[in-house]
């Protein structure tokens, strides 16, 4: 199954990051948090 690389997320400084950039140079683990509580 392919990851949705066309998504764009925000970084903590307000910038935008295309998801596909995250694995362009090597494997990446994406950890989805439930909330910050």
């Amino acid at each position: 199954m392919r990851a949705p690389g066309d998504l764009v997320l925000d970084d903590a400084d307000g910038g935008e990051v295309p998801l596909a950039e995250l694995w362009a140079n090597g494997p990446v683990a994406l950890i989805f948090l439930r909330h910050y509580g």
Partner: protein
């Protein structure tokens, strides 16, 4: 509480994790929420935000009812994690410091993606306490790296 415990676990194991691959945390909410979370847990992994939860939907992560979220097993794990559970405590303790400002029915999960864009490992959480272990994530990152080398 479980999110804070998971962040502390990842931070404790950061050297082994980073040796195996890159790790990125994805959360909901605002940059201020994310920065507070980082300050309270000390987690220094890159953190990105999916404020509209589009990424959660794209990775097919479940939204569950309260009964599904808080299983007997997750409650027992929660009690152990309040005491630190082998990873220590966040600033202010491991109890939630405030009511969740994000969608608390939304479950998290962990995925490893190879450089060709294939999801090579998936751990969608089944309840609030069902976080992937560092060992599982490290093994999945190493397997994805091996897959990449074999393809060259």
């Amino acid at each position: 509480m479980h999110c804070r415990h998971h962040a502390l676990q990842l931070q404790r194991d950061r050297e082994e994790l980073r040796a195996a691959g890159d790790v990125v945390l994805i959360g909901m909410g605002t940059p201020a929420h994310a920065n507070n979370f980082r300050a309270e847990t000390g987690v220094d992994f890159r953190m990105l935000l999916s404020r509209d939860k589009a990424a959660y939907r794209a990775f097919d992560l479940k939204r569950s009812s309260a009964l599904e979220l808080f299983t007997p097993g997750s409650v027992l794990k929660g009690l152990a994690r309040l005491r630190g559970g082998g990873v220590g405590k966040a600033k202010g303790g491991n109890l939630p410091l405030r009511a969740p400002e994000q969608d608390w029915h939304q479950l998290g999960g962990a995925f490893v993606i190879a450089p060709d864009g294939e999801i090579t490992w998936a751990h969608p959480n089944s309840d609030v306490a069902d976080n992937a272990s560092s060992d599982e994530i490290i093994a999945a990152l190493r397997a994805a790296a091996g897959r990449t080398s074999a393809a060259r």
